[in-house]
């Protein structure tokens, strides 16, 4: 089944649209009567999108949703996704792929904050940049993303992979402040630079191929180590937190 959703122009284009219904399972089960919310107003899906559905699907994995147009303020697309595929041709709003457990989301443009929040499984690929709290957790919750893969080909914002507790996060560009802060498990890879990496980490592994600025002073330098042909400095920490994490860094700079 191919579902094509093209965002229509809106009178108040900045007001976010909450569209947690846009997930393959919804279309697999029932394509009529779907609604989204603009603030406190419930609207038919068709009011916000022009909708085209072709074919049938034998399972949720047979559903592919394509989103066209300016979807930068469409929130919660792919929330609780448990199979199938979503392809966002442009940018996508906050909370794309919250709690996702299976399937694939591909974003050609940028993703707003909380991409893949508390993700359990599946794959998200963002070809542009991701906002803050990419692959992170929720307020007050000890554990954030627990499984699956988030790959960002551009940059990622601050607090990337915050409270990461499983799965794989790869940022090909730079990550903002405090990437991997409070991470507990899982693997975080940043090909570019970041700052204050992995502060307070208690477990898991992180690789920074660029430079870590404002390096946290409470990581113990274990020595040089070659990983995949590149020479890294290996750190253990965060000692401030009895941490048992491992941090591999190509270059780093303390705020002395």
């Amino acid at each position: 089944m191919k579902v094509t959703l093209e965002v229509r122009p809106r009178r108040k284009p900045h007001l976010p649209i909450e569209a947690e219904k846009i997930v393959p399972r919804t279309f697999f089960e029932e394509t009529d009567g779907l609604s989204v919310f603009r603030g406190n107003k419930e609207l038919a899906l068709e009011e916000i999108f022009s909708v085209a559905i072709e074919g049938e699907a034998a399972s949720v994995d047979g559903v592919e949703i394509t989103i066209l147009g300016d979807s930068s303020r469409i929130k919660r697309v792919g929330e609780y996704m448990d199979g199938g595929r979503i392809h966002v041709m442009g940018d996508i709003g906050m909370h794309c792929g919250n709690f996702m457990s299976a399937g694939e989301i591909v974003i050609d443009g940028n993703a707003d904050a909380w991409l893949g929040r508390e993700m359990r499984g599946g794959t998200i690929r963002c070809h542009g940049s991701a906002g803050d709290f990419c692959a992170a957790g929720y307020r007050g919750e000890k554990r954030g993303m627990r499984g699956g893969t988030v790959e960002v080909f551009g940059d990622a914002g601050d607090f990337t992979a915050e409270t990461l507790a499983g799965g794989t996060v790869i940022v090909h560009g730079n990550a903002g402040d405090l990437a991997g802060v409070d991470m507990k498990d899982g693997v975080l890879t940043i090909m570019g630079d970041t700052s204050m990496a992995c502060a307070n980490m208690s477990g898991g592994r992180a690789y920074v191929h660029g430079t870590v600025y404002d390096m946290i002073p409470t990581f113990r330098n274990i020595g040089r180590e070659t990983v995949g042909g590149d020479v890294f400095t290996r750190f253990a920490g965060d000692i401030a937190n009895r941490g048992k994490g491992t941090l591999f860094i190509r270059n780093y700079k303390y705020m002395d």
């Binding site: 929720y138 307020r139 007050g140």
Partner: protein
Amino acid sequence: MTELLIRNACVIDPINDICGEIMDIAVRDGKIVESVGSGAEVIDAGGSLTMPGGIDAHTHVCGTKVNFGRYMSPEDMRAGRTARRGHMHATSGYSVPTTYGTSYRYSAMGYTTALEGAMAPLEARHTHEEFAYTPLQDMMANTLFDGNWPVMQAIHDGDIKRVAAIVGWTLSAVKGFAIKLTNPGGTEAWGWGKDVSSIRDVVPHFEVTPAEIIRAMIEANEMLNLPHSVHLHCNCLGKPGNYETTLETFDLVPNTNDKRQSLYATHVQFHAYGGSSWRDICSRSEEICRAINQKPQIVMDMGQVMFGKTTTMTADGPMEFNLYRLYHNKWSNHDVELETGSGIIPVYYNRKNLVNSIMWAIGLELALLTDNPWQCILATDNPNGAPFVKYPEIIALLMSKRYRNGVFQTVHPDTEHNVPLAALDRELTWKEIAIMTRAAPAKALGIVDIGKGHLGEGADADIAIYPLNINEIDPAKAPEEVIRAFGQTDYTIKRGRVVCCRGTCMVDGENTTIWVNPRISENHSMDHDPEFARNFDKNYTIRMRNYPVQEEYLQRNLCIETEARL
């Protein structure tokens, strides 16, 4: 004048010695009366179990500490959210729901009255503000005196009259209901990061022991003629081997009041541990119940633990710090100057964990080993042992050996070597459950005379009608029916109005705050005691004049006036 007639109710009303009679209940203007006119609104109970509204004799639902539990737990909030609907406001939360959430859920379970377990006098206004937003239950507040400086000074001076005068002044100032002692002496020691480890330890600087505090407060309580007894959270909560402290504490208690107990020991499950460490912890429920069975002057509540997620919160600051060191989860603490402390941490009681399994068993054992159900009240120390929404499951565990055994199969396998539960065959009766959930709480709290906990003429028309026919259901065999029925009434009636019908609350509601005002002669009153006032303004960071809870915080209220004998 509004009138209501409930027909064909199968009534259990232990205080009036009614057990399973099919009868009509007449209500006029919120009170139970002999009969009503033909114009009365009629509810046909169709033979369903009908009891006085439930009374929670120890629960944490309103005030600074509870609200901090909410404040620090957005993850708990999202675990239970409902939107505004009809008369019901939006609610959030599971173990520490919003005030509306608490009120609606209690009401759906037929509870119409609750005692907030711990109110710091300095922050009493906060508790009363939240009472106003807990609209479907009448509320009262245990008032904390465990680390009260002027009280400890008066005890040290051996001046029990002064103790009583200070307590009386404070209760009336903060619109409190009863004396609560939480780890007496320990909360003051916690002001220095320390604790007391027995009832004979000396509180730093104040030179009094917990035992002296407890004894003096029991005496003062009777001098003030308070409806409720001293309400005690014993020292050493949650520590292996603490049953000895509990038994020693029980031995301090004289039998001084013929209407009710002289001591209410709360959440005794947490105080009934044998062993010397977490590795050899075991149940000492038998010793505890043996003492209870011999001492009619003591009433306790279970403090039942149920498996799952919850939030622990207590004025017992040092105990919460110990829990924090155990769990490494988030920890909040809030010491209250000159008065008490408090702490909060979220916990998960895991049935695969031996200690948690033992705790679960002990609570049930206390209820099953106490001969007289009037001496053991059903409560979880909400939300410490479990959120109150677990009460129906607890009732089923107590009524069905089979159900108990079934759950026992799922807990840590070593549990049976450490607890006597498996050997207990007792299955509680409908009447015993009615006693443990409404009649005994009313009697223990001393609110039978103001019309709580029974359905006699003149009583408040607080009534719960459960969708259950006790003549058709065998609770031993159909625990799921018991859980379903106690989980949601057909009708919860409060002050003669249907406030909740099959889980939907029907009115905005307006509760009553019940408080006490002991009349103390002028020559004993703290209002005319220059030394008290001088020290107050010197040591507190609030002026004495700004301290009392103003009338504005009491909307509907019922003041129990007592004559103090000083």
